[in-house]
């Protein structure tokens, strides 16, 4: 039997032209958040980056870890600021093709047009970003499988479906096979919307009918809404798409969501901030429980709750974070455990190890991931059959080099390699072989 292609289901190819001018506000640093444009302008030039690296090397002479982490951050910026989207993809392709020349790389697009409520002078529109992504698909039809970023503030309902058809129902012919330009849907709720938003209802129905998989971001950290009006995006009782006859589980999830919002509001974590301090509030968008109404209404829809919830939700490390400790008092279950429980119950839920795999050298994280994989679901099958391999390139450049991440995963998860890198992705993507 022919071996299935090696796959990395979680990468990004956007570059600095796709992001808002204030993008650096995603970094949890007050100085950066106060003057993101100035710092971005500074970091956009090679000489300033080289100067900063040189200064940091001098200042961190005795602390090699500090120096390394700085170098890695600059490496991340090098990818993000200097290249075209095609070049970003080719960097990833160079690494991945070492494992399989037929490698399949999923490129997740993100609609960052609504990430900030202020207009950005230099940011290109999402449609323009998608055109460049389509070009990558034309050049690498068998290797690149982009997912379409969706945001209900951009288009909604039937309008959204019609718009997305221009990407899912157009394609190209190569070597006797037809490939659609886009192979799935990417949700990034932390940019400022709830995944259960009723404006997405029609799209989920379309995706279920056409067997389009969904990958969504589920961690407490990452890129988030950086605008100044977070309170407008989080009403106390947001509208929720519900199945015709909502089950007890859906109603509980709805009640929990409303409670969470109330508590966050009481803690003053949903307050408008001039410098985009929305880290806590954006957790509300990405909470795994938000997907229960969707999977109940669309049981055949394949959804990947990416990152397994993130390293800090795989092993509890709230002792260093007073806010997280407070959250644990009313939201005690770790997100990884929530995802596990949901996957046990819902057979079309998936997860991936992207970004999280950078912590595979942490024995606690590794043990927790292995436990997760070896958990049987309601049908008696291991959850490992629904875990996908992904790296989250190039976000992970801040942690480890891409090639090192591949090596680490191949070494630490050797027993599951074939499953997570070949069999599961083939089943999830359902793309022509």
């Amino acid at each position: 039997m022919e071996q299935l292609p090696f796959s990395n289901v979680h990468t990004h190819v956007f570059n600095s032209e796709c992001v808002p001018d204030n993008f650096l506000r995603i970094l949890p640093n007050k100085t950066v958040r106060r003057m993101p444009k100035a710092i971005k302008a500074l970091l956009d030039t090679k000489w300033s980056r080289a100067t900063i690296v040189a200064l940091s090397k001098i200042s961190a002479k005795k602390d090699s870890n500090k120096r390394n982490s700085f170098d890695k951050y600059i490496a991340f910026l090098e990818v993000a600021t200097q290249r075209k989207q095609l070049d970003v993809f080719e960097l990833e392709f160079e690494v991945a093709r070492q494992y399989d020349s037929q490698v399949r790389i999923v490129g997740l697009t993100m609609n960052m047009d609504f990430m900030d409520n202020r207009t950005s002078r230099r940011q290109i529109t999402f449609e323009s970003q998608l055109e460049a992504v389509k070009d990558i698909k034309r050049y690498y039809p068998k290797n690149f499988f982009p997912f379409l970023g969706i945001d209900p503030r951009h288009k909604s309902g039937a309008d959204l479906v019609n718009w997305s058809k221009a990407y899912f129902e157009t394609g190209l012919w190569t070597d006797g096979k037809v490939f659609p330009y886009f192979s799935g849907i990417k949700l990034y709720p932390a940019l400022g919307f709830f995944p259960f938003d009723p404006r997405l209802d029609e799209l989920y129905a379309y995706a279920e009918t056409n067997q389009l998989p969904v990958i969504t971001h589920v961690t407490r950290v990452g890129s988030q809404y950086i605008g100044t009006r977070i309170s407008e995006l989080i009403p106390m009782k947001p509208n929720m798409l519900l199945p015709g006859n909502p089950s007890e589980r859906v109603l509980t999830a709805q009640e929990n969501t409303y409670n969470r919002i109330r508590i966050y509001a009481e803690q003053k974590w949903i307050e408008d901030s001039k410098i985009g301090n929305n880290d806590k509030a954006c957790d509300l968008f990405t909470h795994p429980e938000n997907y229960i109404p969707i999977v109940e209404k669309y049981p055949k829809l394949k959804i990947c709750l990416a990152h397994m919830g993130g390293s800090n939700e795989i092993v509890d490390n709230s002792k260093d974070d007073p806010d997280l400790q407070q959250i644990r008092r009313f939201d005690s279950q770790l997100w990884c455990d929530r995802i596990r429980d949901m996957m046990v119950r819902y057979p079309n839920l998936y997860t991936d190890i992207s970004y999280t795999l950078s912590d595979l050298d942490n024995p606690e994280v590794l043990a927790a991931i292995l436990r997760f994989m070896n958990t049987p679901d309601d049908r008696g099958e291991l959850l490992a059959k629904r875990v996908l391999f992904g790296t989250d390139f190039f976000m992970t450049e801040q942690e480890k080099r891409e090639s090192d991440l591949y090596k680490l995963a191949m070494k630490e998860l050797a027993a599951f390699n074939d499953l997570i890198t070949r069999q599961n992705p083939a089943e999830f993507l359902r793309q022509p072989l």
Binding site: E17, T45, K46, W47, Q82, R83, K84, L86, D87, I124, T125, E127, S128, E131, A132, K134, D135, R138, A166, E169, T170, G171, L172, W173, K177, V178, F179, P180, Y181, N210, Q211, R430, P432
Partner: protein
Amino acid sequence: MNFADNNILLILISLVFIYAVLSILVSILTEWWNAYFKERGIFLKDSIYKLLKDPLNKDYGYLFYNHVTIAGLKSAPDRDPHYISGTMFAEALIDIIAQQVVNNQKVKLVINADGTREYQMESNTIPNDIMERFQLGVSGMNTSPFADLLQSFIDKSRSGASENKNHYDLLKSHIEKWYNDYMDRVSGWYKTKQRKKFIIAGFIVAIALNVDSLNLLKVLSMDGDLRTRLVASAEQTVDNMKRDSTALDNSSNMMKTVFIERDNLQKSSAFQVDTTKVQELLCQFNKLDSTRRVNNVTAMKNIKKLDSTLALVSELNIPIGWSRSSAPLSWFRSSGEKATILSSSQNPGLASYLNARNNHPDGWDIFSYFVGIIISGISLSFGAPFWFDILAKFVNIRRSGKIPEGNQSTKS
């Protein structure tokens, strides 16, 4: 009165010559700044993004820069081209719009009875003719000012098509004209933007070389030797400029001849041309062009210019620069040191002025020093071409007022 030897005119020529020489440094600094921060490329890119921005459709500027012909012009991944010709712009834009049709071929998903998925291409309706594809591309766009503009180009090219000019050529020429007109405006915007940089560079040079214009004026009015030296150098420089300009005109005429001859050759085989002459001219042209290209390497050119400018400044002994014997550093010297500075001066008036300014400054001297620096900063920011132009005019005025030597002797 001999107008040519009028002191005021000589002082003005000397001062303008100093400004002209120092303005070269300002130009070099600005050029370095632009080259280092890739300003030209970035400005051109921003302008094209602005021109092709269509919020109702796409950022065609972004797609334009991603187009293979334009991306190929980059000398490095982060170095955008400084110049894009009208032809290249038009061809790339037509290609991008026409390509939209090719990139939007419909596919449909077929789910087989066994649950397997298969995509199938819907009927291929893409026309072969690029004009038809371009029309389809425009028709497929949402109605927007940019889409309307493209449609107007199509309409104009259709109505103007004839046996000699096909639709595509006409469309290309309309887009080229639109782009070239826009680029004329972009050049104006760029010059305005450069002005700010020239002011900064002017002040940097004025402070770095301690150029106090009021002091220069005073010294030039008192020091006849310096004045004579500077006027002689100024006249020589103007002569050199004229010679260079004539050479440039000749080479330009030669290039024109070459192009005309070449066009004639290409257009009409029946046309009788002197091919030997064309070959000869082409040979000369290539020689000229290759020399120009070597000389045009910015860094080399700037280094040469900088080197000769600094040599000239030092050779002419212009009273600028930082030293402990001149203001403002001399103001901080001890009184014993100050007494010895100008004891050997041969010009008592000048020595007395310099002594007072450098060794015993009062409030006015300090104030006038800062005013002098500000005047220099602003003056230098006008740039070398401006000052050389003024210099040529002053030198011509002086020459027109010069009494021929024969007449002068008769008079005396």
